[in-house]
């Protein structure tokens, strides 16, 4: 799970919320946030280690699971994961689904 860790790269920390599996990120002030752009950008070192330690405590407190750090680029809009996998994990499927998927299909077929 730590394969995304490249030395020197800025990091954020991610988990899945235990009760529903939703993806979360560690935000400023050790708060879990739902959107990647709100994640706290961390230096690879003591900052990351402190965040991971908080994450492990949250696992012990059975709030979260699947803790790991992600490499990010820092942009004016906030951190953006380097790997495509992590971008899709952060943003959700790149394809429409459910009723949202049907709407354009219906429009196109009529």
């Amino acid at each position: 799970m730590f394969k995304a860790a490249t030395e020197g790269q800025k990091k954020i920390v991610t988990v899945n919320r235990l009760i529903d599996g939703r993806v979360m990120f560690l935000g400023p002030g050790n708060r879990w946030v739902m959107h990647v752009t709100e994640a706290a950008v961390l230096d690879d070192g003591a900052e990351l280690e402190a965040a991971m330690a908080f994450g492990r405590a949250e696992i012990a407190a059975r709030q979260v699971t699947e803790l790991y750090p992600i490499d990010v680029e820092v942009t004016p809009e906030g951190p953006v994961p380097v790997r495509l996998r992590e971008r899709i994990r952060a943003e959700g499927p790149t394809v429409a689904y459910g009723e949202a998927e049907r709407a354009p299909l219906t429009a196109g077929s009529r």
Binding site: N16, L18, I19, D20, G21, R22, V23, I59, A60, A61, R62, T65, E66, V82, R83, L84, R85, I88, R89, G92, P93, T94, V95, Y97, G98, E99, E101, R102, P104, L105, T106, G108, S109
Partner: protein, 552 residues
């Protein structure tokens, strides 16, 4: 359809109660994730890229309207209003909350469904020909045997911790629609010289990292010996299959390394030892199970339907759908109708809750209360009168379910890929969508004829790309999505593993490459009757390589 007896009910309900308690202990902190993971997997619950994912078994792909309505109810109440039908005739929900899963399983149990053995190193959901018990070309209905195998393999104490997962498929027709030769065990039910039932048994097929075609180790196994023989195979595998390397643990590797003859000898020896044990299958028990799958009483009808013919003449869309999406039935005046879950630009295999309910209603009114899920990720109404086709088509059309593309280039098998799956290297759904959009014109699709494109987002091959006429495999290259293309695979009675045509393609080159391959076929085919697969087998790789790479 098979109905649970008291034992089945008690068994499934006990399992729901047990899992409810396990989830409670997990949420209360009494179980760590490492302790809980194997327990949730035994109940079909994964943690995927965005959320948990629950895989529900649809044994041998057969559903009643009540079951289909329950699947819709679960999609709506606990998920995001849709479900994804898979290449193993199951359904997956991509967004359930852990806390809700015990309630979901309890709801499923009320319609005799569950998620047991849809994951883990056990015998998985037994799949069967989706046209079973209805197709005109069928020798006998394989589902009673699939059900017998389901009962035998459910929580079989000896086989809940196999070296690796284990998949069994059963067919009862010469035309293999269940891909039995790429399963751990393939069972081909047939009749002997005097009409008695027996089976050809294939062992050691599989896709994934190391694709293998199964070896036939028995040409004719008497009906009464089915379970003894299966047990013998599983025992040999359980003892000798490799547990030291996950990538070499499937039975296909054992068969490959030891040789099919050696495995046959071991299986036969074990079989001889146990064939007169409690596993002997009494004739009356088989007939009892078989009765659940009896052909519904369909009134005798004329082989032609003047009303349908008139409607087809007046409605080109209906005509195209009847031509492409229906196949002959055992009973005159009836057909099986494929409901395509491959609308142009949609996600292959997805259906909304509302669509599931529409299909349930159609099955109730027009198809003797039966729906099938195909491994090609479509639904099937198996018992439809010709006279009703126009009404059915109109309802399907109103619900975006009437795409006339069964078996055509846009009827693509596609795994969830990187849009949902945590193991993926690349996305597969957008690839399927773009190919379908490129070939959206149905006339062009019909000109091309039968062509099976199959797409997997990683080497695990859930999208069966090895047996696609055109197979597409997503890989990651320098952090980018990249796609390897194979040609000439097929998953039928002439099973073949596709061959890599050359260097792979970036996402923005891939659709053009697929089009080049198809255009090359059109130029070289002897006549419109020569399918893509037949042409490739005649021509080999050369003209396709030339067209793809020569100008580069």
């Amino acid at each position: 359809m098979y109905r649970y007896d008291q034992f089945d009910h008690d068994f499934v309900n006990a399992r729901v109660a047990q899992f409810r308690e396990q989830v409670g202990r997990r949420l209360a902190g009494e179980l760590t994730e490492d302790q809980f993971r194997p327990l949730r997997l035994q109940n079909g619950l994964y943690l995927q890229l965005h959320a948990y994912m629950l895989r529900v078994a649809v044994p041998y792909g057969t559903l009643s309207p009540a079951q289909m309505r329950m699947l819709a109810h679960i999609a709506r109440k606990y998920d995001r209003g849709y479900g994804h039908f898979t290449t193993r005739q199951n359904i997956q929900y991509h967004w359930p909350a852990l806390g809700d899963v015990p309630d979901i399983l309890a709801d499923l149990a009320t319609v005799e469904m569950h998620a047991i053995q849809t994951s883990g190193n056990c015998v998985r959901n037994v799949t069967a020909d989706h046209f079973a018990g209805a197709a005109a070309d069928e020798i006998l209905d394989p589902r009673p045997y699939a059900e017998i195998l389901r009962q035998w393999s459910s929580l079989h104490p000896e086989f809940v911790h196999l070296p690796r997962k284990f998949k069994i498929a059963v067919t009862g027709a010469e035309r293999d629609r269940a891909a039995v030769q790429v399963h751990d065990i393939g069972v081909h039910a047939k009749r002997g010289p005097d009409g008695e039932v027996g089976f050809a048994v294939y062992v050691g097929g599989g896709l994934g990292r190391t694709p293998m075609i199964a070896h036939k180790i028995r040409d004719y196994l008497p009906e009464e010996d089915l379970l003894s023989y299966m047990e013998a195979i599983l025992r040999v595998y359980n003892l000798e299959g490799r547990r030291d390397n996950k990538f070499k643990a499937r039975i296909k590797i054992l068969v490959h390394e030891a040789g099919a003859d050696a495995i046959r000898d071991k299986v036969e020896a074990e079989f001889e030892r146990i064939r007169h044990s409690a596993l002997f299958l009494p004739e009356d028990e088989v007939r009892r199970i078989e009765a659940y799958f009896a052909l519904p009483e369909l009134p005798n009808r004329s082989p032609v339907s003047p009303s349908l013919d008139r409607a087809r003449a007046a409605d080109a869309a209906l005509d195209a759908w009847v031509r492409q999406n229906t196949v002959p039935h055992k009973v005159t005046g009836h057909v099986l109708a494929t409901i395509s879950l491959k609308p142009i630009g949609g996600t292959p295999g997805d259906a909304t809750a509302e669509q599931m309910e529409v299909v349930a209603d159609l099955a109730e009114r027009y198809s003797a209360g039966e729906v099938r899920v195909s491994h090609e990720q479509n639904l099937v109404l198996p018992h439809v009168a010709l006279d009703d086709l126009a009404d059915i088509h109109a309802i399907l059309q109103a619900n975006d379910l009437a795409t006339s593309n069964a078996g055509l280039v846009s009827d693509i098998i596609c795994c969830p890929g990187l849009d949902y799956c945590s193991l993926a290297n690349a996305r597969s759904i957008p690839v399927a969508q773009k190919i379908a959009e490129r070939f959206a014109d149905l006339d062009r699709q019909r000109t091309i004829g039968e062509l099976k494109i199959k797409i997997s987002g990683c080497i695990n091959a859930c999208g069966h790309h090895h047996v696609g006429h055109i197979g597409i495999l997503g890989v990651e290259k320098k952090g980018e999505e990249f796609y390897q293309v194979t040609l000439g695979g097929s998953g039928d009675e002439h099973t073949a593993i596709g061959e890599i045509i050359g260097r792979g393609f970036a996402a923005d080159e891939l659709i053009d490459a697929v089009e080049t391959i198809i255009e090359t076929y059109l130029v070289h085919r002897t006549d419109p009757g020569e399918t893509f697969l037949a042409a490739y087998r005649r021509l080999g790789q050369a003209p396709f390589k030339e067209a793809l790479y020569a100008t580069a």
